[in-house]
């Protein structure tokens, strides 16, 4: 599904954000990428969603080499990769329904399609009863679930979660991880970037460890080791 081939990102004058990354993530896998801040986790995500270009190497997503993706093609890539963030990135002046609908609206979906799809996805994240609430009226965990719903609305093959539990307490973090696992079981490849020890140990799935831009460990059933 995702292949990083000898990927290097260099920032002049002398910073390697990632260096010689070789990583193969199969269809339907659940992979955690861990590492301290500055280890290159976020750069890897930014490269994957076309926010940055590689200096060297190739990134292949579903057979599509996005290493030197053109500006006009980035939106196409973004509709195939859902992304969620630590700060949820919800629009405060839109209610939950509108926040999710917005993702469809701006990509040109019809009103009819929006009316059908949004309740479906709200059901998946168990927020159907809160469609008309505003983000500030929800708990952190619920807000992150809205973020997940929005990321899934285009039915992406890949879901990238960048520190999704960073602002949440343990119970809420568990909820979110459970939800990610459920989504993974439904067939979506999940890439979880985190430095939450509890979360990683709870998952018992593949763990890739980054340090100073390089992969130092890649275990099938990993634990948080740094």
């Amino acid at each position: 599904m995702i292949k990083f081939r000898n990927v290097t990102k260099f920032y002049p004058p002398d910073t390697y954000a990632v260096k010689g990354i070789n990583l193969h993530i199969k269809d339907g896998e659940f992979v955690s990428i861990i590492g301290q801040s500055g280890s290159g986790k976020t750069t890897l995500i930014r490269l994957l969603i076309g926010e940055e270009h590689v200096t060297n190497g190739n990134i292949i997503v579903g057979g599509w080499d996005i290493s030197n993706i053109r500006k006009g093609e980035v939106p196409i890539l973004r509709r195939q990769i859902g992304v969620i963030f630590q700060d949820y990135k919800l629009l405060p002046n839109k209610n939950i329904f509108e926040n999710i609908a917005f993702a469809l609206e701006v990509c040109g979906s019809s009103d009819k399609k929006i009316k059908i799809m949004v309740p479906q996805i709200l059901k998946v994240v168990n927020l159907l009863g809160k469609a008309d609430k505003y983000p500030r009226q929800l708990s952190g965990g619920e807000q992150q679930r809205v973020g997940i719903a929005r990321a899934l609305i285009h039915r992406p093959k890949i879901l990238v979660a960048d520190e999704p539990t960073g602002n949440l307490d343990l119970a809420n973090s568990r909820d979110i991880i459970d939800l990610l696992q459920k989504i993974n079981q439904l067939g979506t490849t999940v890439l979880l970037v985190t430095h939450d020890r509890e979360v990683v140990n709870m998952l018992k799935r593949r763990v890739v460890v980054l340090d100073r831009g390089e992969i130092v460990s890649d275990q099938k059933i990993g634990r948080y080791v740094i």
Partner: protein, 304 residues
């Protein structure tokens, strides 16, 4: 496409309302720029009308000696008519001239008394000559003044309106220069303020734009609402400007009519006649200006 366009339009209106005061200021400056352009247009039309009217009044009156035979006059009239620079020649017999004169002074018994006393008609047969253009009068005068024609001509009278025309030209040119400079100043201010308005819009919508990019909106869709917002500024400004113009013209036209009683010029009529052309040209220019200005602002501040 339709969904995208109407959604972009909706976002544009939303943003217009969100930065309402800034939108208002932007439209106001656009209106000021448009008003000064329209003052320029009105002045132009006005001075054109005055000059044409003055030119129409210019003619040569050729007074015929009393003892000249009709055939000779007809012959001279025919010669005049043949000349390429002559537009028309009107023969006014001395009887008609007298009747006209009496009619003009019917309220003045002293003049009527004086005419009665003279007994004989003191006026002369007259040929009124109009040239095709104001520059042609010199040639016509040269012809009239030829030696061979002096047998039948008592005298000729050419009212020279050149000075009036030059003066009207001069005043209108100066007024146009001033309003052109004012228009340019307002246009520059308008460009800068639209630029700033779009910059502020980009800033207020930065979160929305970030989410749009994240979920895969195309960059043209992200840009469209901003461009439409500037088009909205332009459209509002042009409509309000024309409303103000019509109101102002209706208010001042009675005074203008007094001032120009001889020229039968009405600005409302002028704008009615040229409405489509003026509206389209001004709307086109303002929208083009707005879109260009906001496109530069987007290029600078919206990274998509």
């Amino acid at each position: 496409m339709n969904y995208s366009f109407f959604r972009a339009l909706r976002y544009a209106f939303k943003d217009f309302g969100r930065n309402f005061w800034l939108s208002l200021v932007t439209i106001t400056v656009l209106i000021l720029a448009l008003l000064s352009v329209n003052i320029l247009i009105s002045l132009n039309a006005l001075s054109d009308r005055v000059i044409t009217a003055v030119k129409e009044k210019v003619d040569i009156s050729v007074f015929i000696k009393a003892d000249v035979e009709q055939a000779q006059v007809a012959n001279f009239e025919a010669k005049l008519k043949k000349r390429p620079e002559v537009k028309e020649v009107i023969f006014v017999s001395k009887d008609a001239a007298l009747a006209d004169f009496k009619e003009q002074h019917k309220d003045d018994p002293r003049i009527l008394e004086a005419i009665k006393e003279v007994e004989k008609n003191p006026l002369a047969d007259t040929l009124i000559v109009k040239a095709k253009s104001i520059e042609d009068y010199k040639q016509i005068l040269n012809f009239i003044n030829l030696e061979e024609n002096q047998d039948i001509i008592k005298y000729q009278n050419y009212t020279d309106h050149e000075k009036i025309i030059a003066r009207v030209n001069d005043i209108s040119k100066k007024a146009e220069e001033v309003s052109l400079i004012i228009s340019l100043v307002f246009a520059i201010i308008a460009i800068l303020i639209i630029f700033n308005a779009i910059r502020v819009s980009v800033y207020t919508r930065r979160e929305e734009v970030a989410v749009m990019r994240l979920v895969g909106a195309s960059s043209s869709f992200i840009r469209l609402p901003f461009l439409l917002e500037s088009v909205i500024y332009g459209v509002f400004a042009v409509i309000i400007t024309f409303a103000i113009l019509y109101a102002a013209f209706s208010a001042i036209s009675p005074y203008l009519n007094v001032l120009l009683n001889n020229y039968s010029f009405n600005l409302v009529e002028y704008y009615n006649q040229n409405f489509v052309m003026l509206f389209a040209a001004e709307a086109g220019a303002v929208i083009l200006l707005s879109v260009l200005s906001s496109a530069v602002a987007l290029g600078r501040y919206l990274k998509v």
